[in-house]
């Protein structure tokens, strides 16, 4: 495996593996199918509970990993475990969460599945990806606009 070290660092290899399993899990779970995601959000129509199993299956191992990680304090490769962020619920956080939900409902895609289905999503998937990137480009300017106003609390 020594040759691998010459082309990529352990962090990069672990990042690639995490991305590969993450994206594959999204494909296997059916979450790249926009009709299933919209079906989950459609509480007034033919509700599809699949996403609850996906979220449950994902949260379960992570619940235990957080306990291990916080007890260790450091990652295997020596990085600090991210500290808990302060429970700040400001305007950008609330408005951003609602906006994200609205976009998620409109097209049935969130960032993870947009990545995982990019190669098979056709022009629609590519257009969504391009629009999402554009939104990410303008987000910092919008955040400054939000923060120039008085906070809620």
């Amino acid at each position: 495996m020594r040759w691998l070290r010459t082309v990529a660092t352990p962090h990069e290899i672990a990042g690639f593996l995490a991305g590969a399993v993450f994206g594959s899990g999204l494909l296997v779970s059916g979450m790249i199918d926009t009709t299933k995601v919209q079906g989950w959000l459609d509480f007034f129509g033919e509700w599809d509970p699949t996403l609850a199993f996906v979220m449950g299956g994902a949260v379960l191992p992570m619940f235990f990993v957080w306990r291990i990680a916080e007890r260790r304090g450091r990652s295997v490769l020596g990085d600090p475990i991210p500290a808990r962020s302060a429970p700040v619920f400001d305007r950008p956080f609330i408005a951003g969460s609602l906006m994200f939900g609205a976009g998620w409902g409109l097209a049935g895609l969130c960032p993870g599945p947009a990545l995982a289905s990019f190669a098979i999503g056709g022009w629609g998937g590519a257009l969504f990806f391009l629009a999402m990137i554009s939104g990410m480009v303008v987000a910092p300017a919008l955040r400054r606009l939000f923060e120039s106003r008085r906070p809620i609390s």
């Binding site: 199993f53 990993v65 994200f100 609205a102």
Partner: protein, 142 residues
Amino acid sequence: MIPQDWIWGLIGGLMIGGAAGFYLLMNGRILGASGILGGLVDASGRDSMVERLAFLFGAMAVPPLLVPLYDRVETHITGNPLVIIAAGLLVGVGTRLANGCTSGHGVCGMSRLAPRGILSTLLYLLGGAVTVWLFRHVLGVI
């Protein structure tokens, strides 16, 4: 819902959680798709650029390899370009303002019982449910 859908959902979910756990234990990082991508887009993550690119490469290039083994791999995305553009912009702006999406806030935040993760998840579920109700059942667009 096809009856076995929940089994595939659970298996895929465990893979997603396993990947997030591996990333946290190995690299000490929270697996959030919008954060990893957004940090590249606005250059806030320039210190970990290659690690982020490696993650994105894995997430984009490996799933298509599974397509031949798996029979249900159609995204069924709408053919309405205006809806797609509006949705993409909202997802891009919203996840960056909220500092997370379904993976960062949903999977990693809720499993840590983080108040921000739980509240963001409730808010984006609310936003999504209202949007589907409005655009599907009232306006009939999607």
